[in-house]
């Protein structure tokens, strides 16, 4: 008795609260298909403005797929098809007239493995500003590079070697360089796909501290496999399971008294 078979727990609706008082992005009934296979089932949630929302769940639960929908990264995959309503400040981000490149400037992304361009530290950060034509003189560009590096907490460590290749930095520094590169184009939302999973604990702590500071200016969504990280950095947590959003709520509730058995099993390391 009292035994729960994970596969027999029926998923109906998301439990908890998916709504934010001040939503930067709103997603309603999102479905994502890779060819015939459905990867995301009817997911609805809000990303609260100037707050960190953590997306957690086991491998293959669709959290990264979902994150990539938020700046149309999935557009690059031919067989990928998306339905539902996804809005940024009320504007449909899948509007046919919307240039995905401009969208990605507003909704930036940081990946699991730091991926600096094989260019100098300076050029890495200046790249986006240049292609988006954010500035046309050197002094302004210098300014953007410096403030971006400062916001990413990297400036003091690299200020004397801005011409050195970005790939020569340590893993943690490279990740902060990628964050600086994202910030340089003044995004409104930053999506992070396991930004610290390839880093040591010290570099991780620095990134987490940075996330906390960045939320003052930006709205952040972070996919992480580390439950402790989600608990530490986020204000809202969404738990995905088999492509469905099982539960969403305040982080303080999810980690002390989750409502759904599946969430409980996942965050406490039980079978499932």
């Amino acid at each position: 008795m009292n035994k729960t078979d994970i596969n027999q727990i029926e998923l109906t609706e998301t439990v908890g609260n998916i709504y934010a008082d001040d939503a930067k992005m709103s997603i309603r009934n999102a479905n994502v298909y890779y060819g015939d296979k459905q990867a995301i089932h009817d997911v609805s949630l809000d990303l609260a403005k100037n707050q960190v929302t953590a997306l957690i769940g086991p491998s293959g639960c669709g959290k990264s797929t979902f994150l990539r929908c938020l700046n149309r990264m999935n557009d690059t995959i031919d067989i990928c098809r998306i339905t539902g309503q996804l809005t940024l400040d009320g504007d449909d981000i899948y509007d046919k007239d919307l240039d995905p490149v401009l969208l990605r400037a507003r909704v930036g992304m940081v990946f699991q493995k730091p991926n600096p361009f094989p260019k100098s530290i300076y050029d890495n950060v200046a790249y986006g500003a240049r292609i988006h034509g954010l500035t046309n003189n050197k002094a302004e560009l210098d300014e953007i590079v410096e403030t971006s590096l400062q916001k990413a907490g990297l400036f003091n460590e690299v200020k004397d070697r801005l011409k050195d290749p970005g790939t020569g930095l340590s893993g943690g520094q490279q990740q902060r360089l990628c964050i600086a590169r994202t910030i340089a184009v003044s995004p409104e939302v930053i999506l992070m796909d396991e930004p610290a999973s390839a880093l040591d604990p010290i570099a991780t702590a620095i990134i987490e501290e940075l996330i906390d500071e960045l939320k003052e200016k930006y709205t952040i969504a972070i996919v992480t496999h580390s439950m402790q990280q989600a608990a530490r950095v986020s204000q809202h947590t969404a738990y995905f399971h088999l492509g469905k959003l099982v539960e969403m709520g305040k982080t303080e509730d999810i980690f002390t008294r989750p409502s759904h058995k599946l969430t409980e099993n996942y965050i406490t390391g039980r079978f499932g």
Binding site: M1, N2, K3, T256, T263, I267, F271
Partner: protein, 263 residues
């Protein structure tokens, strides 16, 4: 009189138990991917129950020592208090290790937090039992043994009630039985009323016979200890509710508690 429980006789009130391991099954303590973690949480549970029944025995023996003016038993209760203290330290350390190494979450976290809090209350109950022991020795030396004297009858009555409540609370703990825990919380005011009655009775006694003031005060202190044990028992029950429901019901009226549970 009250039954004296050995640390391991969880079989008392067997008919009240719905399954031999309600605690483990209700909290799914055996369902972690890490088998070691299962074992560690199970061990915490075992240690707390062991400490609980040791404290229950201390309370019952201490009370009996007072009622029978039994110096030998009183000395034993005082002597055995260090076992309770040692268990508190051991469980505290065990929980600290789990927090540091496992970073428990959700119900596992609530289990560890409620255990850390519960053992403080259990240890205090142990201290109250020592007060019985000390007063029992003094009462014995002060030849206050008038069998059937009203204060002692009342003390026996209150003691019986408190002891029964503690036993119920420990079983509720073992079974993670929120309903039983709520019943106990609800009934705490009965213990408080009984304590007030004894106090009034003893004040009257003291006014009637000032020479008995010393002894009457000792009985008062024993009654006070029982009342405190009742309060600590209520705390245990509040931790059961927190552990199972994730709701903090401390410092709340019964109506507020029920509203919280239903939400």
């Amino acid at each position: 009189m009250t039954t004296s429980n050995t640390p391991n006789n969880e079989s008392t009130n067997k008919e009240e138990q719905e399954s031999p391991s309600g605690f483990t099954s209700k909290l799914h303590l055996d369902k972690h991917i890490s088998r070691r973690f299962n074992e560690e949480l199970e061990q915490v549970r075992t240690l707390v129950m062991k400490m609980g029944f040791l404290v229950e025995q201390q309370v019952n023996d201490g009370l009996r020592a007072v009622l029978n003016a039994d110096e030998t038993l009183a000395a034993k209760v005082i002597e055995r208090d260090h076992e309770v203290n040692t268990m508190e330290l051991e469980i505290d350390e065990y929980c600290t290790q789990i927090l540091a190494r496992r970073q428990p979450a959700a119900s596992d976290l609530r289990l560890i937090v409620s255990v850390i809090k519960s053992i403080t209350d259990l240890e205090r109950m142990g201290d109250e039992s020592v007060k019985f022991g000390r007063n029992a020795i003094k009462l014995a030396k002060g030849s206050f043994t008038e069998e059937g004297s009203r204060p002692l009858v009342e003390l026996k009555h209150l003691g019986h009630h408190v002891s029964k409540t503690l036993n119920k609370a420990l079983i509720a703990y073992a079974q993670m039985d929120v309903k039983a825990a709520l019943e106990i919380i609800k009934d705490d005011n009965i213990i408080d009323e009984e304590f007030d009655n004894i106090s009034r009775l003893l004040v009257t006694k003291m006014m009637e016979n000032p020479r008995e003031i010393k002894n009457a005060l000792r009985v008062t202190w024993c009654a006070r200890a029982l009342e405190r044990i009742g309060d600590h028992t209520t705390n245990l029950c509040e931790y059961i509710v927190y552990l199972v429901e994730g709701k903090d019901v401390r410092h709340a009226t019964m109506e507020q508690i029920e509203a919280k549970i239903e939400r």
